[in-house]
């Protein structure tokens, strides 16, 4: 099945399942699901080198599902934490189009590359908090599900 067909299926599934598709009650610490009231928390580990291109170090965040808010619009704010140091923002992304989708596995995920600041560049592992932040309206009802994250 092509990636496009896969995504279409995902969207249809999400729409068909409606509000119960994600159990938002699990959105708490160390959960891969973010809502406006609770961030998703995952650990990004350094990926094995693929030998394709030489790029500056960055974090790749994989999003396997999204449900848009009932009210307003949201963006995802990604914060990284190394060891016991304070969390720091490393970037933001939006989901466009703002329509629901879900991917059954990581190959259908949408991936966002965020460059790492110098002080985090050599890290083998980082704790990531992904926050859903409304920039219009309350953002209530928005859900973002992560499939994982890695450092490249």
């Amino acid at each position: 099945m092509g990636n496009r067909a896969f995504l279409i299926t995902g969207v249809v599934l999400a729409v068909a399942a409606g509000p119960a598709f994600w159990d938002t009650s699990v959105a708490q610490n160390n959960s891969p699901v973010a809502t406006v009231s609770s961030p998703a928390v995952v650990t990004a580990a350094a990926a094995p080198e693929e030998g394709i291109v030489s790029q500056p170090p960055r974090v790749i965040v994989s999003v396997t599902g999204f449900r848009p808010p009932r009210d307003g619009a949201v963006e995802a704010v990604v914060k990284a934490q190394k060891d016991d140091q304070p969390e720091q923002e490393i970037g933001r992304f939006g989901i466009f189009p703002s329509t629901g989708f879900t991917a059954a596995d990581s190959s259908g995920a949408r991936r966002f590359g965020l460059p790492l600041p110098k002080e985090l560049a050599g890290s083998k592992a980082l704790k990531l908090g992904v926050y859903l932040v409304p920039f219009r309206g309350s953002g209530e009802g928005a859900v973002l599900e992560l499939g994982g994250a890695e450092i490249r």
């Binding site: 496009r4 969207v11 291109v53 790029q55 190959s107």
Partner: protein, 514 residues
């Protein structure tokens, strides 16, 4: 000398004219037929000719049936439909070049539909203008439905984008990336394997790459900020789409000033086969490497030349023209020189152009020089084959006529467009810019009233008469030895009061021969 992108920088809302004193390089570009400048919407008044052309073009395209390939609905369907994206790549390293070609399709179509060859899409610089541009938020314009208004948008006219989405810090981070795939989204992967061929399926492999800094945040979030159709896969139905993407395209061009695109043949050699239309309804199928430089595509942002190997020296015809223009600009009142002849008329009576009474200054010229300009075959615009370099060289190879309107004293200039015509015996405020006698429009920016004990600044303007002369006199058997240069002030905002005035000190007409 070489012609850089900076050379083509023209004044804000000027079409077919250029300010001399501060911007002689811009005049050179104008005289050479450099591509039109894409401008910020913030520089354009609601009745600016550029905005009016966009309004007219959108209205004409919307009026066409969806089964007409050159229609608003047909173009938007290339991007996406109600359920999904169609041919456009997102989350994929073809995101930037594909959308550049998509915008170009609109720009060329509007030029053709409105017969406004100077038209270039304006951009919404959301970093400096956080709210929706006014031209797009009002349901009506001049009492008629506004084709740029879209009722389904979620953003109100007073909603503002935040620093976190479009602030200078965000832009600095984006421009600070040195790798194309980090900046502009990475190569696609399918089932874990990276792209390995030029098969068309890799183009619209949606979200198969890692979205780069430009696409992830300002691109996606501005779409969602506007909301309604703009937040959906049907976003190209909203006329603000092109202004948003024009700014994305501008940031790519800005990034290219210091950074090089991917050199991977899987990127550079990909052809977007039958994804886009030419204005005549045939397919436009550019390769990614065809889309590197805005100037070769018929528009410019007036940015520095891109990074990378030095650009090839311009053709001899353009270099020769540049030399002559340099001489001309550097020497006001120049009577003649190699390949240059000028004819001047003093505004001895200090006559003033007003809205009710345009200023007319007759300039006696050499009839044979005027004939040479009129009869030289009109060069190609370059639009037909998108070969703007060849068209520019062709233009530089023919004789040209330029008018220098010097030392202009103005009043109420902030509320005035100054339109220039030649030999129009029915000229009034109502004469449209589509009239064959029209040459160009200039505006005067900044303070020119001589505040603080300083003398009043009197700017000078140059306009290229070549096209108008060919249009008016190309088929005439005899030519007069006189050109009547006319200035017609027009109010920008009627509510802000009447149009101002203009009184130049002198007008010179220069003929430049190859």
């Amino acid at each position: 000398m070489t012609v850089s992108r900076r050379d083509v920088l023209l004044q804000g809302s000027v079409i077919g004219a250029g300010l001399i004193a501060a911007n002689t390089a811009g005049i050179e570009a104008l005289a050479q037929g450099q591509p039109p400048l894409r401008q910020s919407l913030a520089n354009l008044q609601l009745n600016d000719p550029v905005l009016q052309a966009w309004r007219d073009g959108v209205a004409q395209m919307k009026a066409k049936p969806a089964n007409d390939p050159i229609s608003w609905a047909s173009f938007a369907a290339i991007h996406g439909n109600a359920s999904n994206f169609n041919l456009c790549p997102h989350g994929n390293w073809y995101f930037l070049p594909w959308h550049r070609a998509f915008l170009l399709m609109y720009e060329r179509t509007v030029r053709q539909l409105t017969r406004h060859n100077d038209f270039a899409l304006p951009y919404w610089d959301w970093t400096n203008n956080r709210q929706m541009p006014a031209a797009f938020t009002q349901p009506t314009y001049n009492g008629a439905p506004n084709p740029l208004f879209e009722p389904q948008r979620d953003a109100s006219p007073t909603d503002s984008l935040t620093d976190e989405i479009v602030g200078q810090g965000v832009i600095n981070t984006i421009l600070g990336q040195t790798d194309f795939e980090t900046f502009g989204t990475s190569r696609p992967r399918r089932n874990g394997s990276p792209q390995d061929s030029l098969d068309q399926s890799w183009i619209n492999c949606e979200f198969c790459g890692d979205s780069g800094t430009l696409e992830s945040n300002p691109h996606n979030n501005v779409h969602n900020f506007v909301g309604g159709l703009m937040g959906s896969s049907q976003s190209a139905l909203d006329p603000i789409f092109m202004m948003h993407h024009c700014n994305i395209d501008r940031i790519w061009a800005l990034w290219n000033a210091n950074n090089q695109n991917s050199s991977d043949p899987l990127w550079t050699n990909m052809t977007f086969q039958q994804n886009f239309y030419n204005p005549d309804g045939s397919f436009y199928s550019p390769k990614v490497s065809d889309l590197y430089s805005p100037e070769t595509l018929g528009y410019t942002y007036g940015l520095p030349a891109p990074a990378g190997p030095a650009a090839a020296a311009p053709p001899a015809a353009i270099m020769a023209l540049n030399d002559k223009l340099r001489t001309l600009f550097a020497t006001p009142n120049l009577r003649g020189g190699a390949g240059i002849q000028t004819f001047a008329a003093q505004n001895a009576q200090n006559a003033t152009a007003t809205a009710e009474r345009p200023l007319e200054i007759p300039v006696e010229v050499d009839r044979s020089l005027l004939s040479a300009v009129a009869r030289h075959p009109a060069p190609s615009s370059g639009n037909e084959l998108l070969n703007f370099n060849a068209a520019r060289e062709q233009r530089a190879s023919g004789p040209r006529a330029l008018a220098f309107i010097r030392d202009i004293a103005v009043t109420q200039h902030k509320n005035t467009f100054y339109r220039v015509f030649i030999d129009c015996d029915y000229l009034s405020q109502a004469t449209p810019v589509s009239d064959p006698h029209y040459v160009g429009t200039f505006g005067i920016f900044g303070e020119h009233a001589g505040h603080g004990g300083k003398p009043a600044a009197a700017p000078s303007m140059a306009v290229d008469l070549t096209g108008t002369i060919k249009r008016l006199y190309g088929s005439a058997t005899e030519h007069s030895g006189r050109i009547l240069v006319q200035i017609q002030p027009v109010t920008i905002r009627a509510k802000a009061g009447p149009a101002g005035t203009a009184a130049p000190n002198r007008v010179e007409v220069a003929f430049v021969s190859p």
